[in-house]
Symmetry: C2
Subunit: 343 residues, 2 copies
DNA sequence: TTGAAAGCGTTACCAC
DNA sequence: GTGGTAACGCTTTCAA
C-alpha cells in the first residue's frame, strides 16, 4: 500500500494534461465517441485505467440535466410484501442503469427535509410504493413536475400508477369461497384510507351481495400481523352460530395473523374457518400457513412501472395512466375448497 | 394550474438578477450568513420562496467535495431482520441529514455497474449490512478510501464494523438450555462463510464442550425459513433416542423454520424439542412461535455505525475499529426453561 | 480528428 | 455588508 497523503482523484483535466490533449478529447474518448482516433482513444483509456479514473456523475448531471437518480419511497416494512417489492425494484433499476435515492421507508410521515432532498438531488423521477393515500412525496413531485409512478396504489390526483387489479382479486376470492359452500363471510380490512385495502374489500363485498348473501362482516384490521391477530381473536370470541366460516384478509400478513389467532383459540383452519389473503408473499406459502391467496405479479408490476417512468423522463408529454395487472389465484390448504359433502 | 412550457428552475443567479444583487449575496443570504443585512436577507428569502427555489445539491457537492450521500448495501431481504435494520437506517440517516444511495439488496453479487456507481456518485461513506464475507462493495470502498462501516458483520481486512457480540449470544443460549436440563444439543448453522453464523455457532459449541457435554449436532442451514425448515425435518427424522432435545438456529428465521418443521412432523415445541434463535425479529415474538432469542440492539447498532461513519467522513484519521454490542436475552415459550421435575 | 471556450449551479476567496 | 471572479468536473458548441 502506498502512503500518499491525499490520493487526488483523476479528472478529465488531469488526464488531458498527462496525455497532452484537450479535455474535450478525453471526454469524448472515454465515452467512445467515434470521432476519436483509435490510437488516441487507446492511449487515454490506458491512462484512465492506470490513474483509476472514475467519472464524477454529479458533475455530469450538472451539464446533462439528468441525474440518473430515481427517488424511492417505500411503505411499511413490517409487511414482508414491501421487502419483496424493494428487492425487485433494486435489481430492476440497477439493470436499467438507474440509481435509487432511498427517501423513505415505513409508515410514518415523510420528513420535511427528506421531501426537500427529492428536489435538491434532482431525481429524474420518483417511484412510490406506499399504500397510504396521503403521500407527501406524491404532491411534491406533482408540484415540481417530477415524473412519478406509484406502484401498488392508485394515483388519486396526479401521476401514473401500476397496480394489481385489487377489485378483481377480491371478487375472485369471494367467488372461490362461496363456491366451496361458505355462507357467513368476513373481511379483515386494511388501514382506513388505503386504496388497495378498500378496493379488495369492495370487490369481495360486491360479489357476495351479488350472490344474494348477507353483507360480509367487516373486521377492522390494518397492515400488520398483529392487526390480523386481533381481528382473528375477535372472530374467535363470537358465538359459534355467528362466527364467519370464511374470512379474507386484505393482505396476506393480516390473514396470517388471523390464522394464528384462530388456531390459538382452538379453532381449526380450514376446518372451522377458511382463511384467504392477497399479495402472494413468500412466508404465506409456507407451513404452517399454506395460505390460499391472490398473488400480485410483482416482477411485471415493477417492470411496467419503470417503463412508465422511463417514458415520462424521456420528456415525451405522455398523459398520466393507470395500469392494472391481474393477479393469479393460488389455491392452498388454508381454505376449504369444496362444499361439505362433496369431497 | 399554469401552463408554462418549461417551468425553468430558479437558480442563485436568476434570484440575484431579480433581486438586483450579486450571486454571492444570494448564496450567503440563503444560508443565513450573519454578514448579510436583515433587509436584504428577507428580500431574497421572499423572492426564493416565491420562485420555488430549491438549491441544487449536486452543484453544491461539486464545490464542497461532500455529497451528503451514503451508499447502502443491504443483505438478503428474505430475512426480516434486514428489513427491520433498513428501517432503522433510513430513519436515523434522515435524522442526521444524510441521503441514502441504495446500491444493493439481496443475496446475489453486486453488479459491476453498481459498484462503479458507488464511486461515480461520490458517496461520502458506505454502510454495508450484508452478512456475506465476500462483499464486493467493501473492497471497492477500501481501494478508494471511501469510509466504510459494516453492520452485523465483522470487518475482515479493512473498514470498521459494529456488530452484536455473536459469540456471547451463542454462549448465553447454550448456558440457558443446559441449565434447563437439555443434554443433546444441536445448532442449525448459517450460510458457510458468514461470520455472524460462524461466531454464534462457535460460542454455542464452546460452551457446551466446556460443560463436558458431547459436541452439538451441526445441521446445515442457511439464511431462510426454508433452510430452517429443512433442518427441522432432518431432526424430526432421527430416531427418538438420537434426536436433540434442544436446538439453536443461528438466526430467528432459521429457528422459526425449524419449529414449523418439527411441529409439522408431530413433535411438540418445547415439549419434545426446545428451540431458540438469535436476532430478535418481530415475527419471532408472535404466536405461534414465541421464540426465545437473543435480540440484537438494532437501534443502538445503527446509531453507533453512523457515528463511526461520521467520524471518518469528518476527515479525522481515525483508525479502524470494531465495536461489539451485547444482545439481550428474551425468554419466551419456545424453550423449556427448567429441568424436568423442577417445575 | 482535435482544440478552445463557454456553461451547468454553487460556494469561496479577495476586493471594496 | 456586498460585489466580482474563480473554481469544482464535466459536456457541448463552434472553430480549426
Amino acid at each position: 500500500m502506498e502512503d500518499m497523503p491525499h490520493p487526488v482523484r483523476a479528472t478529465v483535466a488531469s488526464l488531458a494534461r498527462r496525455a497532452g490533449v484537450a479535455a474535450s478529447t478525453v471526454s469524448r474518448a472515454l465515452r467512445d465517441d467515434p470521432r476519436i482516433s483509435p490510437e488516441v482513444r487507446a492511449r487515454i483509456a490506458a491512462l484512465a485505467a492506470e490513474a483509476g479514473y472514475t467519472p464524477n456523475a454529479l458533475a455530469r448531471t450538472l451539464v446533462s440535466g439528468r441525474s440518473g437518480l430515481i427517488g424511492l419511497v417505500l411503505g411499511p416494512m413490517d409487511n414482508p410484501f414491501y421487502a419483496e417489492m424493494m428487492q425487485q425494484i433494486v435489481s430492476q433499476a440497477a439493470a436499467r442503469g438507474w440509481r435509487l435515492l432511498l427517501l423513505h421507508a415505513g409508515d410514518g410521515p415523510m420528513e420535511e427535509a427528506t421531501a426537500a432532498a427529492l428536489l435538491q438531488y434532482r431525481v429524474d423521477g420518483c417511484l412510490i410504493t406506499s399504500a397510504g393515500l396521503s403521500s407527501r412525496a406524491a404532491s411534491v413531485c406533482a408540484e415540481n413536475r417530477v415524473p412519478l409512478v406509484m406502484v401498488n396504489r392508485v394515483a388519486r390526483e396526479h401521476g401514473s400508477a401500476v397496480s394489481c387489479d385489487n377489485l378483481a382479486a377480491g371478487e375472485t376470492l369471494a367467488e372461490l369461497l362461496m363456491q366451496a359452500g361458505h355462507r357467513r363471510l368476513a373481511v379483515i380490512t386494511g388501514n382506513p384510507g388505503t386504496s388497495t385495502g378498500l378496493e379488495r374489500t369492495e370487490g369481495f363485498v360486491r360479489r357476495v351481495l351479488a350472490a344474494g348473501l348477507p353483507a360480509p362482516l367487516l373486521l377492522p384490521g390494518g397492515a400488520s400481523h398483529a392487526a390480523g391477530y386481533a381481528a382473528g381473536q375477535s372472530m374467535a370470541a363470537l358465538p359459534a352460530g355467528e362466527r364467519p366460516d370464511a374470512v379474507m384478509g386484505v393482505s396476506d400478513i393480516l390473514a396470517m395473523g388471523a390464522m394464528d389467532a384462530l388456531r390459538g383459540a382452538g379453532l381449526s383452519v380450514p376446518g372451522d374457518v377458511s382463511v384467504v389473503g392477497i399479495d402472494g408473499i413468500a412466508a404465506a406459502g409456507r407451513v404452517p400457513y399454506r395460505l390460499t391467496t391472490v398473488a400480485q405479479p410483482l416482477e411485471a408490476m415493477i417492470a411496467r412501472g419503470l417503463d412508465m417512468l422511463l417514458a415520462r423522463i424521456g420528456g415525451a408529454q405522455v398523459p398520466d395512466e393507470v395500469v392494472l395487472l391481474r393477479g393469479s389465484l393460488i389455491r392452498r390448504a388454508s381454505a376449504r375448497l369444496v362444499a361439505p359433502g362433496q369431497g
